[in-house]
């Protein structure tokens, strides 16, 4: 089973916390919004879940693909 982070774009307001927690998967674009790179591996799953929980806008979800 593959997992990806998906952004709820209208909710995201570029706070950038997700990138702080998970730079391996999330970069920021020039305006500070996350750019999702690839899938969430098993090793990163814990951090990905934390990023989802910590997002101040509740704009991040872990989805199965």
């Amino acid at each position: 089973m593959n997992r990806r982070l998906r952004v709820d774009w209208p909710a995201c307001k570029a706070r950038g916390l997700c990138h702080e927690l998970l730079p391996e998967v999330l970069e920021l674009d020039e305006w500070g919004y996350p750019v999702v790179h690839g899938e969430v591996t098993d090793e990163l799953l814990g951090l990905a879940r934390e990023a989802v929980r910590m997002c101040p806008r509740l704009a991040l979800r872990l989805v199965e693909t």
């Binding site: 774009w9 209208p10 305006w31 500070g32 919004y33 750019v35």
Partner: protein, 410 residues
């Protein structure tokens, strides 16, 4: 805000066609419709699924999604489904749904109501375009003519905004919230209006459903792979806006002007083609996809001036039409419009390409993706003209470099 470089036209020349647009002279009234096509078709869900599957009916709102898959999905839900007729075509240049509303409203409504009955849905929501008063009035007249004890017609009016017709924006409108796109976590056919399975299709799709149920599969029209017809909005230089029903497999050449013209296929979210490519295209979902185009909302816009200038104006308009909710679209589209404008000052295409890659796939709706499709198609079809603009020239207008020098001198 930038206004659309093409104004909305609700009164196109609607040409007599082989199926949906046959027998237009009898008018749009319910009585004339019943005389021509007969009573509302009643059929079981399985027969309906089979009928739309056999002819490979695809949605005509732009995405060309197979209708049978949506229908089956909506039918499989545990809750009672909802049916939606979307007439809020956001493409200002498209007039086909307006044409249907004004000539064939009951074919549209028969398709939706017959489907609603087969699905045991109790409501058909009809979403009308806020910026098209004649279309809205025509549909309202048609809705008032009908009586149906089992299926209620519910009317909504969409905001006059490009993205208001997006499926999720329509569901927001129906829920009483701002008519703007939100993130779809599940397909509408699984969970849409009030979390019910929601079968949302555009007016032309419903008209094809209605026609299919009344007259059976289109015999002798279209190709083996793509039976039947589709509607095109034709905007050609020096001609009135026209809506034509053509068979699948029709050479696009047959509706294009003789003279060389850059052709935008699909809509503002569509694809630029050169005159040579346009003449080789056929009206076909699969064929156009192979050629890197999409039939989209069925617009064919042929222009006798510069496609670079057109794209600059269209993207400036589309940037202003962002719902301003998704960061990459809110920031990226105005930046993309500026980068396109800066081509004329030697800004180069690198920034245009960088921004295109940055906004694509990063929004709640298809607005950024569609805008990027348009921009990339310009770079692919007209690289030399883009380069000429960078050097201060344009093949269609006076040399800009000369104008710039003059303005420096004065």
């Amino acid at each position: 805000m930038n206004t659309s470089p093409i104004e909305v036209r609700e009164d196109p020349d609607v040409h007599e066609g082989p199926a949906l647009l046959a027998g237009l002279a009898s008018g749009p009234s319910l009585a004339a419709h019943r005389t021509q096509f007969g009573d509302l078709p009643r059929l079981a869900l399985d027969d309906l699924v089979e009928a739309v599957d056999d002819v490979g009916l695809r949605g005509r709102g732009g995405a060309a999604f197979p209708f049978a898959i949506k229908l089956r999905t909506a039918a499989e839900g545990s809750r009672r489904p909802v049916v939606v007729v979307n007439l809020s075509e956001g493409e200002p240049a498209s007039s086909k749904d307006s044409a249907l509303a004004r000539t064939r409203p009951h074919l549209v409504l028969d398709g939706a109501v017959a489907t609603a009955r087969a699905l045991r849905a109790r409501q058909v929501h009809v979403v009308l375009p806020g910026d098209r008063p004649l279309t809205t009035a025509a549909m309202e007249t048609a809705m008032d003519e009908r009586r149906d004890r089992r299926v209620r017609l519910v009317r909504h009016v969409a905001s006059p905004r490009f993205v208001a017709g997006q499926a999720r924006a329509v569901l927001e409108l129906m829920a009483g919230r701002p008519n703007l796109p939100v993130t779809a976590w599940t397909p509408e056919a699984v969970a849409g209006h009030r979390a019910r399975p929601t079968l949302l299709s555009n007016a032309e799709t419903w008209a094809h459903v209605g026609h299919l149920l009344h007259t059976g599969p289109p015999t002798g029209l279209g190709t083996d792979d793509e039976p039947g017809t589709t509607l095109l909005t034709l905007r050609l230089p020096g001609a009135r806006v026209a809506v034509r029903e053509v068979e699948y497999g029709t050479p696009l050449r047959s509706v294009l002007p003789q003279e060389d013209a850059a052709v935008l296929v699909g809509g503002f979210h569509g694809t630029w083609t050169t005159p040579e490519t346009a003449r080789r295209l056929t009206v076909s979902v699969a064929g156009m996809r192979e050629a890197g185009c999409a039939l989209g909302a069925g617009l064919v816009l042929a222009v006798d001036d510069c496609p670079v200038v057109w794209t600059q104006r269209i993207v400036a308009y589309l940037a202003g039409q962002s719902a301003r909710r998704c960061g990459p679209c809110l920031n990226g589209l105005p930046a993309l419009a500026s980068a396109l404008a800066a081509l004329d000052d030697g800004g180069g295409t690198a920034r245009v390409e960088q921004l295109s890659a940055m906004v694509v796939g990063r929004g709640a709706c298809a607005h950024p993706d569609g805008t990027v499709r348009l921009v990339r198609s310009l770079l692919a079809a007209y690289p030399h003209e883009v380069d000429r603009h960078g050097a201060g020239y344009c093949s269609w207008t006076k040399p800009r470099a000369v104008r710039r020098l003059r303005s420096v001198a004065s």
